[in-house]
């Protein structure tokens, strides 16, 4: 959670500091089209990043025996 805050906070400050300029001369329809296209590119390129693949690990990590905490005998 801390790492998330560390990443997001400066980014949010940076983003918020960008002035939301008054509407420029660029056609609003062009702005919208370009924006929608950027969203679509992101949507499409992220799609294949996580397709299931055979032969990949999917089970929880099993710690090596040497790393496991030895059990103390009763009464010790």
């Amino acid at each position: 959670m801390k790492i998330g805050i560390v990443i997001l906070f400066p980014a949010f400050v940076l983003g918020s500091s960008v002035p939301a300029a008054a509407e420029p001369n660029t056609d609003p329809n062009v702005v919208e089209r370009v924006t929608n296209n950027a969203d679509l590119v992101r949507f499409r390129t992220e799609a294949y990043a996580d397709v299931a693949k055979p032969g990949r690990p999917c089970k929880p990590t099993k710690r090596p025996k040497k790393d496991r905490q030895p059990q103390k005998p009763n009464g010790s």
């Binding site: 959670m1 790492i3 998330g4 990443i7 997001l8 980014a11 949010f12 940076l14 983003g15 918020s16 960008v18 002035p19 939301a20 300029a21 008054a22 509407e23 420029p24 660029t26 609003p28 329809n29 062009v30 702005v31 919208e32 089209r33 370009v34 924006t35 929608n36 296209n37 950027a38 679509l40 590119v41 992101r42 949507f43 499409r44 390129t45 992220e46 799609a47 294949y48 990043a49 996580d50 397709v51 299931a52 693949k53 055979p54 032969g55 990949r56 690990p57 999917c58 089970k59 929880p60 990590t61 099993k62 710690r63 090596p64 025996k65 040497k66």
Partner: protein, 321 residues
């Protein structure tokens, strides 16, 4: 025209040159498994990842290499290049007076992923140019970034994540800056293995992603709150062939400028198959895909509804290092 593709071509050349000394990923994976199998008990390296691969976190544990000490070092970087050639039914995304066209959308990206103890950090940068055959005035380009942290191990239980995703959009080939967007997202993601092989590896899987985003922008009219639900079904038919079905539902609630008070409901659906080329009996980093993308937008503002289909093949290259 040649200069327009210089950036993408340069990245392609880099990928080509960097490929030479690399071993095949699956080949290295086999070595890892073999060494794990033959190493004495107690000296075996841990499994590569506790995180299922169908998570958007594919680099975790994928393409691991083995050092002299038997330790595995995951490859953290992925260079991807793709070029869809698609036919669109509505190039201008308008409700009436639709114009169809064919466009080429070369994209090059570099991504990085670092699994830590309980957090997986990832970052990506991408450049994309979209050139239309007839509607030259619609040519556009964009830089896309994504910096995110997944807070936990992905499984059936929703795992929270946060991300910052900037987009810088231009007309033509990075010629005329149009708008800069800053998306701040908090969400949760779950992974479900729907079908598996004998070894427990996923053959069919589902990722459910629910998120809220705040979009800040250099133009007030682009600022909005977003609520998004994404489902991602994916599966493998064979080592070469995989498929994906990705519907996304998104509410866009504009909050400033001339769009203040506007509410849009956007639906996207991607259905695609991807074929990985086989080289010397092993999957190569080259791939071919065929995608159908459907988009429908409904708005409470007049003239903002539209429907568009985007259909066509794509060639790509992906290299991990």
């Amino acid at each position: 025209m040649v200069s327009k593709y210089f950036g993408v071509a340069a990245m392609a050349a880099f990928a080509w040159s960097a490929q030479a000394p690399a071993q095949n990923i699956d080949s290295i994976d086999s070595q890892v498994d073999f060494i794990r199998f033959t190493a004495p008990e107690g000296t075996r390296a841990p499994r590569r990842s506790a995180i299922p691969v169908d998570t958007g976190l594919e680099a975790v544990g994928v393409g691991a290499i083995v050092s002299n000490q038997g330790q595995e070092k995951p490859k953290e970087f992925t260079l991807s290049i793709g070029a869809p050639f698609t036919y669109t039914t509505n190039a201008l995304k308008t409700d009436t007076g639709r114009v169809d066209d064919v466009h080429i959308n070369p994209t090059a990206g570099l991504s990085w992923e670092k699994p830590l103890n309980k957090v997986t950090l990832s970052a990506s940068l991408q450049m994309s140019y979209d050139e239309y055959v007839d509607l030259a005035a619609n040519d556009q380009s964009v830089f896309l970034g994504n910096f995110s942290a997944l807070l936990g191990t992905l499984g059936k239980t929703p795992t929270p994540y946060v991300s910052y995703a900037p987009s810088v959009a231009y007309l033509d080939f990075y010629d005329h800056h149009v708008v800069t967007l800053h998306d701040f997202t908090a969400g949760a993601r779950s992974f479900f293995k729907l079908r598996e092989d004998a070894k427990g590896n996923p053959l069919t899987s589902l990722v459910v992603d629910v998120a809220y985003s705040r979009r800040e922008a250099s133009l007030a009219a682009s600022e909005q709150h977003r609520a998004t639900v994404t489902l991602k079904f994916s599966g493998v038919v064979s080592p070469e062939l995989s498929w994906i079905l990705k519907p996304q539902f998104q509410g866009r609630f504009y909050s400033a400028g001339t769009n203040d008070g506007r509410n849009d409901y956007n639906f996207k659906l991607l259905a695609g198959i991807e074929w990985k080329l086989i080289k010397s009996g092993q999957p190569s980093p080259y791939k071919v895909a065929f995608n159908i993308v459907f988009e429908r937008n409904d708005s409470n503002f007049a003239g903002k509804d539209y429907t568009a289909w985007d259909i066509g093949p794509s060639v790509g290259y992906s290299y991990k290092f």
